[in-house]
């Protein structure tokens, strides 16, 4: 049975698993996504005074609780690092080439992962300024916005 498997011309079987999950958001992610729907970006201040974006319920470094002390951040920020996605997957937020970037929003102390619609990798560089581009119809979801180079506004 276990001879070295050649790649045969055998038929492929196809199996799809799909499910519409519904997630409850709780006291921190909920306000964050509510903010997105309403066109604001929220961070949360931890006990050391650092502003975490996306806001978390607990300090990731220590596990200590974070009081829900929300701080408005952005909508512009600085690219800390980026990757050029030449061929987006169907799960990506944009259907044409874009950059994933860690964006330190103005007023934040951490990088938010999001998509930058820059058109070309030539327009991307670490340290560049980007700003939120909001969708017209927003539902309270991380894809209610993408980012664009600031000069492109």
């Amino acid at each position: 049975m276990c001879s070295t498997p050649a790649v045969p011309d055998a038929p492929l079987t196809t199996h799809t698993i799909e499910f519409p999950y519904t997630r409850t958001l709780g006291p921190v992610v909920g306000p964050f996504l509510t903010g997105l729907r309403d066109g604001h970006l929220l961070g949360v201040r931890n006990r050391d005074g650092r502003v975490l974006v996306p806001p978390l319920e607990w300090d990731p470094a220590t596990g200590e609780p974070i009081d829900a002390d929300f701080v408005e951040v952005g909508p512009a920020g600085t690219v800390e690092t980026w990757a050029w996605v030449g061929e987006p997957t169907r799960k990506h937020p944009l259907d044409h080439p874009f950059a994933f970037a860690l964006i330190r929003l103005d007023g934040a102390d951490t990088g938010l992962l999001h998509a930058v619609d820059a058109g070309s990798p030539d327009r991307m560089h670490t340290g560049m300024r980007v700003t939120a581009r909001w969708k017209g119809e927003r539902i309270g979801h991380i894809t209610d916005l993408t980012f664009v180079p600031e000069e492109a506004r």
């Binding site: 276990c2 790649v7 196809t14 698993i17 499910f19 519904t22 997630r23």
Partner: protein
């Protein structure tokens, strides 16, 4: 038991989010199941008989997990397409996402004549749900050859027969004593 979907009040706080997961998997059929599928199209049920302990696995797996020995084409045997219901359940379908069943249905284990090979999760036909009995004698109802379809067979299910067999219908022979089966052969 279908989960409520998020219906955010347009202005109120967002408290839920939806996430639609959809993943596709494409897999080669493993050789023993491929062979099993070919034989099904031909109207035959095949298994592997362990050369060490004699237990029969249907569909063949390529090994006997009891003896931990490999089995090969040399261990292949053809099995009867009739046998005895050794256990069953009547399922009231839960209406989860993707469920197509709406009415109570039977899933039975059928031990094939002439050995210990058992086919699980089989559909019974031509018998009302409340008349199914342990010990009932049944025979496969093969689809016409042209309609047989093995495209649903996968490594995951280890090869069901439902694309080739409509189900199992009572033969009318007297039941075998239930005590012979209860707790001995089951799902």
């Amino acid at each position: 038991m279908t989960p409520d979907t998020a219906e955010p009040d347009a202005d109120g706080p967002v408290t839920m989010m939806d996430y639609f997961m959809q993943l596709e998997y494409h897999e080669l059929l493993c050789p023993v199941v491929r062979r099993y599928a070919e034989q099904l199209l031909d109207g035959k049920l095949i298994g592997h008989k362990c050369p060490s302990c004699g237990l029969v696995y249907l569909p063949p797996r390529g090994y006997c997990p009891i003896c931990v020995v490999e089995t090969t084409d040399a261990d292949e045997i053809e099995l009867a397409d009739h046998g005895t219901v050794t256990n069953y359940t009547v399922v009231t379908p839960v209406q989860y996402y993707g469920q197509e069943e709406t009415e109570p249905f039977v899933r039975a284990s059928v031990q094939l004549d002439g050995g210990n090979a058992t086919m699980n999760l089989q559909d019974l036909v031509d018998v009302p749900v409340d008349e199914v009995r342990v010990g009932m004698r049944v025979a496969a109802v093969w689809k016409p050859k042209a309609e047989r379809d093995v495209s649903e067979i996968s490594n995951r299910s280890w090869g069901s027969a439902e694309g080739c067999i409509d189900g199992w219908k009572p033969t009318g022979e007297p039941d075998l004593p239930a005590e012979q089966f209860l707790g001995k052969a089951a799902f």
